[in-house]
């Protein structure tokens, strides 16, 4: 059975296989492979310049790959020009046609024999209602707010019932509150329509909150593919651990990896860390700890291997506070409800007990 047929049988809608993209000598994508299931919402996440847009454009056929294969719905589309593929796209700039009003923008692709005038007009009204812009239909893009423009671009991309929706940093031009609202709207719409969707973003919170799966990229390669939970809780590499979610990190040395409770030593501090089992004795390691996993005060005293640390700073973040700690040269961050600050008596230079559950310390060989 060939790749395409096998993919369809497994419910896979889009397959990217060993895709490489070079710009001259520069390798922007290096043998990237991934599968996306029908109806899935997948985010490409990574720092700026890691090749997310390049991969998206390769899938769209706008910048064809230098090597590799791309199969969509059982059809090898690697060599097809964009016009012969089946996708809708929203660009970072939205690329709305400024001289056409909102209706004309949304209905731009509804032409030809498949879309007689009346049918196209009805579809446009349906889309306008779908994105909730009924009062603004006569306006030009320049007269709409950023969030409204974004919705017009989304409606335009969805007008022709594409099988695949591509979003390139669709929210990055908006301010924080609009962004948070729109991302849940996009996700709800995607679920309702069941359209397979790929969203490019460099914002890990955005990716975590809306995706079925996240593809974490770095320098043209895929670091990890997984659900938000997997990527957050079980990062495949030190890079992913550091990039996704907030973490404190420190260098350490592996002790007794094969004991019942393997340990990490950082200066005078020694911590039990289950994940260190996979490393060899004496190996240099880098440990990552999520702020919410750090236990403080009385909570910490109950734990085996609790140690003392000094508070070096407290950041007030509204519902929670972030506490910066230093224990014999090891810097840690902890997060706790703002109300607990007074209870623990956490002033600057206060000393208190700290502990981290052994299974919550993420450990990787130090590069």
């Amino acid at each position: 059975m060939d790749l395409a047929a096998r993919a369809v049988a497994a419910g896979i809608y889009l397959t990217v296989q060993d895709v490489t993209k070079r710009f001259g000598r520069f390798v922007a994508l290096d043998r990237v492979s991934l599968d996306i299931r029908e109806g899935e919402f997948v985010s490409f996440l990574g720092p700026s310049g890691c090749g997310k847009t390049t991969l998206l454009r390769a899938i769209a056929g706008l910048d064809p790959p230098s090597e590799g294969r791309i199969v969509q719905a059982g059809r090898d589309i690697t060599h097809l020009p964009p016009g012969e593929r089946d996708f809708g796209i929203v660009f970072q700039s939205y690329a709305l046609f400024p001289n056409l009003d909102m209706r004309a923008n949304i209905g731009y692709g509804l032409r030809g024999p498949a879309w007689p005038r009346a049918k196209a007009a009805a579809r446009v009204e349906q889309l306008i209602a779908m994105v909730g812009l009924e009062e603004h239909a006569r306006k030009y893009p320049a007269q709409l707010s950023g969030g409204q423009q974004q919705r017009v671009a989304l409606a335009r991309a969805l007008a022709n019932h594409p099988g695949l929706l591509l979003l390139d940093e669709p929210l990055s031009a908006l301010d924080a509150t609009v962004r948070a609202r729109l991302r849940t709207e996009i996700r709800a719409l995607q679920k309702a329509l069941g359209v397979t969707t790929i969203m490019v973003t460099h914002d890990q919170e955005e990716a975590l909150s809306v995706s079925d799966r996240i593809v974490v990229m770095r320098e043209g390669r895929i670091e990890q593919i997984g659900t938000p939970e997997e990527v957050y809780r079980r990062p495949a590499s030190a890079f992913v651990a550091g990039f996704v979610g907030r973490t404190g990190s420190f260098r350490a040395e592996v002790e007794h990896p094969h004991a019942a409770t393997p340990r990490l030593r950082a200066g005078p501090v020694s911590l039990a860390a289950t994940a260190a089992a996979s490393l060899s004795p004496g190996e240099a390691a880098r440990a990552f700890i999520r702020p919410e996993d750090v236990r403080l005060g009385d909570d910490a005293l109950g734990h085996e291997g609790a140690f003392q640390a000094v508070v070096t700073g407290v950041e007030f973040l509204g519902p929670v506070c972030r506490v910066h700690l230093l224990a014999e040269g090891v810097a840690l961050e902890a997060e706790l409800p703002s109300g607990d600050i007074g209870k623990l008596g956490l002033g600057h230079t206060a000393r208190l007990w700290v502990a981290v559950p052994a299974e919550r310390i993420m450990t990787y060989p130090d590069a």
């Binding site: 056929g61 706008l62 090597e67 060599h79 020009p81 016009g83 012969e84 809708g88 731009y108 030009y140």
Partner: protein, 561 residues
């Protein structure tokens, strides 16, 4: 790899068509620009019968005193004109862009007047004033107008608007925040001028100087009318080719003429690269505040300059209605009865109008479509780079040199395109190619203001490229397209040097008729024809301005917030 080796993305029919069309554009530029220039180059190394003689022609050139002198004359008159024009144009442009002096639209309109006229017009006006029968002849204190004095005075008038236009653009692109920052740092006005204004306009100043220098070195009309016995490169080429039929020496002088132009062009390119990134995309436009101590002196200066420009144009116009300068100053229309002075009569004006209209129509369509394909076609391979390179060349090639290249190339017996010689078609082709670069740059600038993803969006919506081109690109760019049309028309009407070698018995343009009538001593008739050219251009420009408002309302409504 699955398909074992070669990796060929499939190309859509649109892409194939685009590639074909861009190939057509490259062929056009090859035939209309590269081959003629190459042939000019080749002829400089041949003798009259076509045999290769190496550098013999160049040796003869250097050994001929009159030719070497003409090169030196061209250089120093151009340098002196540049020194006079650029500071004045800078002040004028500064007043238009950075002051709150009243009457700016009027000053702007007056500034543009000489652009619409042939370069001969100020020269003719100066003849009325300072010529052998001039009313102000005494002011020259015995010196003759015919020579460097006349050339420089006329060139200053002719070049002023070109420099002022460039400097207006350079000065209007200021970032208001830089000035606020400088003021917040308590910098004085003089210091702000030296550290913010001048560096910001440096690119524009270099460009203006380069343009003026090149215009003077390569202009043919003014030295022809007012140069007297003072030889310059441009008149020397004409003498070699038309007077002595020495095409090889003409080619050598043409190449020499190309040197300062190419040098200036490279200097300008270098300055532009260095200028890059001074203005950020988020610049806040500068709003000058009223300040009488600055605005009043600038108003005085601009009034003086505008008055001089109007005086020169008005004098030529008045002179064209005078019965017999300076003895009989009664008014008459006789000078406009061109049949009395020139066999072509009014026909030459009609020839010019047809030539200009065709160059503008064909040129605007061609240049805009090529610029769009160049910017947005995403054609693979070396073709876009070839076209990009070729479109930049005309700016560095003086009209006279291009005309010379055309006469050598199209008039050569072996050339199958020889039938074009002497026809209206070759005049149109020559004008179009000569003014190509400026129009191409204007088109590219307009197209670059469009979101780069429009074509990608169309493809994803399965809308053919040409639909997006006509529904979105064209309407948004219409103001720029009209500008290009007017630019091509006006310049084709006024140009002398680009067409002086190329007209045939039935296709003499009006600007050439001006030269001929002046040569025959019929100054008033020459002035009348020059004024007629100016009037056609003024009429078109007025029509453009009247239409621009309407077009704006019709195609640019979306710009309103």
């Amino acid at each position: 790899m699955p398909d074992g080796g070669a990796f060929h993305p499939r190309v859509s029919d649109e892409q194939r068509l685009m590639k074909l069309a861009l190939g057509g554009a490259a062929t056009f530029l090859l035939l209309g620009l590269i081959l003629p220039l190459g042939w000019l180059f080749a002829r400089a190394f041949q003798d009259a019968s076509g045999g290769f003689v190496g550098f013999a022609n160049f040796a003869e050139y250097v050994a001929t005193p009159s030719l070497a002198v003409s090169a030196w004359n061209s250089l120093w008159t151009a340098a002196l004109t540049t020194l006079l024009v650029v500071p004045a144009a800078f002040t004028y442009a500064y007043a238009l862009t950075r002051s709150r002096m009243p009457g700016k639209p009027v000053f702007r309109a007056v500034m543009l007047l000489p652009v619409l006229a042939p370069s001969l017009l100020p020269a003719l006006a100066l003849v009325y004033l300072f010529g052998n029968q001039g009313m102000l002849r005494g002011l020259l204190m015995g010196e003759s107008l015919y020579g460097p004095i006349g050339i420089i005075m006329a060139q200053v008038f002719y070049c002023f608007p070109h420099a002022a236009l460039i400097l207006c653009v350079a000065l209007s692109g200021a970032d208001g925040r830089l000035y606020e920052a400088a003021a917040a740092l308590k910098a004085g006005r003089g210091r702000i001028f030296l550290t913010v204004t001048l560096p910001g306009a440096r690119g524009g100043l270099i460009s203006a100087a380069v343009v003026v220098f090149t215009l003077v070195v390569t202009d043919f009309g003014i030295p022809k009318v007012i140069g007297g016995q003072f030889p310059v490169l441009a008149t020397e080429v004409y003498k070699q080719v038309v007077g002595q039929q020495n095409f090889n020496m003409g080619a050598v002088v043409g190449l020499v003429l190309l040197l300062p132009a190419v040098g200036a062009f490279l200097l300008d390119q270098w300055a532009r690269r260095r200028q890059g990134g001074f203005l950020s995309g988020r610049a806040v436009p500068l709003e000058p505040k009223p300040r009488p101590a600055r605005d009043l002196p600038l108003l005085g200066f601009c009034t003086l300059v505008a008055a001089l420009l109007l005086l020169v144009v008005g004098l030529a116009a008045w002179g064209s209605f005078i019965r017999f300068w300076p003895w009989n100053l009664s008014l008459t229309l006789d000078n406009y009865d061109f049949n009395r002075f020139d066999s072509a009569g009014w026909g030459s004006l009609w020839t010019s109008v047809r030539m200009a209209a065709m160059a503008a129509l064909i040129g605007t369509a061609l240049i805009f479509v090529v610029a769009w394909m160049f910017e947005r076609g995403r054609v693979a391979g070396p073709l876009p780079r070839v076209v990009g390179f070729a479109t930049a060349i005309p700016l560095a090639v003086p009209g006279l040199v291009l005309g010379l290249a055309y006469i050598l190339f199209f008039n050569d017996p072996w050339n199958p395109l020889g039938f074009l010689y002497g026809t209206l078609a070759i005049l149109v082709l020559n004008s179009l190619v000569h003014f190509y670069t400026v129009c191409h740059l204007a088109a590219v600038t307009a197209i670059r203001q469009l979101d780069p993803e429009f074509e990608a969006v169309s493809a994803s919506l399965k809308v053919p490229l040409w639909v997006t081109f006509t529904r979105v690109t064209l309407p948004i760019c219409l103001p720029a397209i009209l500008e290009i049309f007017v630019y091509l028309f006006v310049n084709a009407m006024a140009t002398v040097s680009a067409v002086i070698f190329l007209y045939g018995p039935d296709t003499k343009p009006a600007s050439v008729a001006v030269v001929h009538m002046e040569e025959a001593g019929q100054i008033s008739a020459a002035a009348a024809m020059a004024v007629a050219i100016l009037m056609v251009n003024v009429a078109l420009k007025a029509l453009h301005l009247a239409m621009a408002g309407r077009v704006e309302r019709w195609t640019q409504a979306w710009r309103l917030r």
